[in-house]
């Protein structure tokens, strides 16, 4: 007999035991592990997706921030350029103004120098001229220059038209009975007497007041009678001389100034 019924029963029991054992030790643990792993994988994938989304979001944020920074930077650079331009203009203006001021000061100092030079030259010239005249006169005629001045002055009074003089005198004498004689030097007693005589002769018997050593009359003498006055002054000649010198100096300085200005503009 091919079928042994005891073996059949034993095999049925064996098989059922095997089913139970494998269920317990193989299928359940392995399926559990597979399920757990699938859950894990799903979780990991979803978390990876989340991370990706977050990363994407952050990327967008950073890009936006970068754009903001770029635009801000451009604004700042623009602003800085404008400020620099403004500052440049200010500095240039300042420099220009300062240059102008220096030029002005320079001009003024030149003018001052010129004035000082002219004045000192004129003073020196007057003194020198008088000195020369004095020396010349004393050498040639053995007389003081002041003496000659008085002579010339007297002759000048003598040269005045008598009618005109009389007219002036008739107007003036009633008002004031004195005349003033100013001189740049000391008058001797004889000279004073000469002068008083001339005054008496031509103007009338009026009081004569002397003002000697007047600084503004270096080599001159002046007679003031009310508003009317007669004078002889070396300054009259010197003024003419001074004018000529001034003109000459001015011409020289003008040329120099012109050259300086040309150099400055070129710089």
């Amino acid at each position: 007999m091919l079928i042994d019924w005891f073996t059949v029963i034993a095999q049925i029991i064996n098989f059922l035991i095997l089913v139970w054992l494998l269920k317990r030790f193989l299928y359940k643990p392995i399926l559990k592990a597979i399920d757990a792993r699938e859950t894990l994988v799903a979780e990991k994938l979803s978390s990876a997706e989340n991370v990706m989304q977050k990363a994407e979001q952050e990327k967008e944020e950073y890009e936006k921030k970068n754009e903001d920074i770029d635009s801000k930077r451009a604004d700042l650079i623009k602003k800085a350029k404008e400020e620099a331009e403004l500052r440049k203009t200010e500095i240039l203006d300042g420099v220009r103004k300062e240059g102008e001021a220096i030029k002005e000061r320079w001009k003024k100092s030149i003018l001052d120098q010129e004035k000082f030079l002219t004045e000192s030259l004129s003073d020196q010239t007057q003194k020198e001229v008088i000195e020369i005249a004095r020396k010349t006169l004393s050498d040639l005629s053995n007389s003081r220059v002041e003496e000659r001045m008085i002579q010339v002055f007297i002759s000048k009074i003598g040269n005045i038209d008598k009618e005109e003089l009389a007219k002036i005198i008739s107007d003036k004498v009633a008002k004031d009975n004195k005349c003033i004689i100013r001189s740049g030097f000391e008058l001797t007693v004889q000279e004073k007497a000469q002068l008083e005589e001339v005054v008496k002769e031509y103007i009338g018997n009026i009081e004569v007041i002397y003002k000697e050593n007047e600084a503004d009359l270096i080599g001159g003498i002046e007679l003031t009678f009310n508003d009317y006055y007669i004078s002889w002054n070396i300054a009259d000649y010197l003024q003419d001389f001074e004018r000529k010198i001034k003109e000459h100096i001015n011409d020289q300085y003008k040329i120099q100034l012109h050259e300086q200005a040309g150099i400055q503009e070129g710089a």
Binding site: L2, I3, D4, W5, F6, T7, V8, I9, A10, Q11, I12, N14, F15, L16, I17, L18, V19, W20, L21, L22, K23, F25, L26, Y27, P29, I30, L31, K32, A33, I34, A36, R37, L40, V41
Partner: protein, 223 residues
Amino acid sequence: MRITPDEIVYWKYGFVELNNTIVTTWLIMLLLVLVSLFIKRKLTNKLKRTRLQNVLEIIVVTINKQIKDIGIKDNRRYLGFIGTLFLFLSTASILTILPIYESPTGSLSTTTALAICVFIAVPIYGISQKGLLKYLKSYIEPTFIMLPFNIIGEFSRTLAMAIRLFGNMMSGTMIVGILLTIVPLFLPIFLTVLGLLTGLVQAYIFTVLTAVYIAAAIQVTNK
């Protein structure tokens, strides 16, 4: 020449006898359980796992998928029964490459026992899924006249399963035995390989047929 390994008896006490079939079955059971325990000890649900675990996972998942493909939706419920059938039968077949080994499936007693298990399991699954009345009603479908044929079919297919498996497994051993006497060298090796293939195919057929029967028994609910 033996037709069945039942004939090798190691120990006997009256009705009870310990033959080669039972001992070999126990050894196979022991092997399967030991491997399972070994794997279970090192089982991990992390992404990195041992190669053996990977192999077992592939086997279990493939069986599960096959059951599902046959049309059983609640496949995990039947994995224990169907999967164990396949693992037992295929292990029994693969081990035929060992020299003194004689497959317990080469015994008609074993195949009958398995066929009886299927014969009993199918109505149990059907009733538990559909209820007794609905299950019994399936025997008179499509008409009442089909009842005897259905009952005959139920028995005949169980018988067919048992004998098909037994015939195939036994014949493999038999052919090798016969050929050894005619052509002792080389050819038996090829036939052993062929026998191995036949055994695996039969294990697959037995398992798939079982799954199909179970699927047929529970199909009404699935509609």
